[in-house]
C-alpha cells in the first residue's frame, strides 16, 4: 500500500493526517507542489519528486493550500489513471462557486438564490434582482476573502467599480448571492463519501463566520435533516472528502452555501469529539481496497 500526500506545506491538518496514516502502518510520501514538474504528454510511469513512479501510488491525497496547483495536479494524475482524493472532477466544481451552484441546482439541493453577470452594469441589476442586502463573492477564493455584503445601491456601485478597476479578470465575474439572515452562526459539516461524519457551528458576531476569520467552533448535532442535505450536496459534486458550509434559514430550513474540497479541521475534532484525520485516512484506505 503506497500513499502520497500532495501539499504546499505542512499545516496542523497535514501533520494529523501523516500521524493517522502512520497509525495504520503506512508512511505516506509527502510531495511538495513546488517540486512538481509534469510531462503532460507522459504517463503515470513518470517519476514523482518522491523518487517513485506515480503509478506506484494506490492513492494520492491532495492537501494543497494552493487551489490552482492542487486542482491541476489532480487533473494530470486522474488523466493518467492515478486514484486521488478528491477527484479532479469534484475539485473543479468545488473550487468554483458558480460551478458548485450549478451542480447543486441540477440536483435540487436547497441553496441561496444566486446570479452571475459580467459587467458592473449588469451586476448591479443582478444584485437588485436579489434585493438588498446581497453578497458579492469572487467565484474562486476561500477563507472569506473579498466577500462583500452589499447593503444598498451606493455600496454596490462602489464595490463593483473597485472590482472592475482593481481586479484581474477573475474579479470581473460578478457572482451575487442572496444574503441569508442566519442566527450569528453557520454550520460546517464534514462529509466522507456521502456520509456526514460530524459538524460544527461556527459562531461569530461578524456576518463572515469562517474560523479562519475568528468564528468560534462548537459541536453541531448531525440531525437526519442535516445528514440528508449533506448527502445530496456531496453527491451533486461527485462525493469525496468534503466540508460543506450551510446556513440555517429563518423558516427553519437549511441551505448549502459552499463546498470545500481541501478542508481544514484543526479546530473541529475537539468540539465534535471525532478524530477527523483518522476518519479521512480510513476513508482513503477503504477506497483503495484496504480494510483499515
Amino acid at each position: 500500500m503506497r500513499v502520497a500526500m500532495l501539499v504546499t506545506h505542512i499545516r496542523p491538518e497535514e501533520k494529523l493526517l501523516v500521524s493517522a496514516f502512520e497509525a495504520q502502518g503506512i508512511t505516506p510520501d509527502v510531495i511538495l507542489d513546488r517540486d512538481l514538474n509534469f510531462d503532460l504528454l507522459g504517463d503515470a510511469d513518470q517519476i514523482a519528486p518522491s523518487g517513485r513512479a506515480w503509478r506506484e501510488y494506490d492513492v494520492v491525497l491532495e492537501r494543497c493550500v494552493s487551489t490552482s496547483r492542487g486542482t491541476y495536479a489532480l487533473g494530470v494524475l486522474n488523466s493518467w489513471g492515478v486514484r486521488t482524493i478528491n477527484s479532479f472532477a469534484t475539485a473543479r466544481i468545488c473550487e468554483d462557486k458558480l460551478l458548485t451552484t450549478l451542480a447543486l441546482a441540477r440536483a435540487g439541493v436547497p441553496q441561496p438564490q444566486a446570479r452571475v453577470a459580467f459587467t458592473p452594469e449588469s451586476a448591479l441589476q443582478a444584485v437588485e434582482m436579489l434585493g438588498y442586502p446581497a453578497v458579492l463573492k469572487p467565484v474562486t477564493g476561500s477563507w472569506g476573502r473579498l466577500l462583500a455584503r452589499v447593503a444598498d445601491r451606493d455600496t454596490a456601485e462602489t464595490i463593483l467599480e473597485h472590482r472592475q478597476t482593481l481586479g484581474d479578470y477573475h474579479q470581473h465575474i460578478y457572482y451575487a448571492q442572496e444574503y441569508v439572515q442566519k442566527p450569528q452562526r453557520d454550520i460546517r459539516a464534514f462529509v466522507l463519501g456521502e456520509r456526514t461524519l460530524c459538524a460544527i457551528y461556527r459562531t461569530s458576531p461578524h456576518w463572515i463566520t469562517n474560523t479562519a476569520r475568528g468564528g468560534q467552533a462548537s459541536n453541531c448535532p448531525v440531525t437526519p435533516e442535516l445528514a440528508d442535505i449533506c448527502a445530496r450536496a456531496a453527491a451533486a459534486v461527485g462525493g469525496g472528502v468534503l466540508a460543506l458550509d450551510l446556513f440555517e434559514t429563518p423558516d427553519g430550513g437549511l441551505v448549502v452555501n459552499e463546498i470545500n474540497h481541501t478542508m481544514e479541521f484543526r479546530n473541529s475534532s475537539a468540539p465534535t469529539g471525532v478524530n477527523i484525520a483518522e476518519a479521512v485516512v480510513r476513508f482513503a484506505l477503504e477506497g483503495a481496497g484496504v480494510q483499515a
Binding site: T8, H9, I10, V18, V30, L32, V65, S66, T67, G141
Partner: protein, 58 residues
C-alpha cells in the same frame, strides 16, 4: 528527545521547534510572531513562510 532550535530569519530570536516537527511545517516565531517554514531538519533551517496567495484556501 533532543530539542531542536534555530534562529528566526526575521528577528534573530532562538526558536524552539515543536516535538515531532516535520520538514516544511509552518510554525510561528514566539518573539516576533512571523510565520516560518521549517525548510530543513538536518541542519535545522527556517525561512519566512510564503505570503498567502489569492488562490490559497480550502
Amino acid at each position: 528527545m533532543i530539542t531542536l532550535t534555530a534562529q528566526c530569519p526575521e528577528c534573530d530570536a532562538d526558536v524552539r521547534l515543536p516535538d515531532g516537527v516535520m520538514q516544511n511545517e509552518l510554525i510561528s516565531c514566539p518573539e516576533c510572531g512571523v510565520e516560518l517554514e521549517v525548510i530543513s531538519l538536518a541542519p535545522v533551517e527556517l525561512a519566512l513562510a510564503p505570503d498567502v496567495e489569492e488562490d490559497w484556501g480550502e
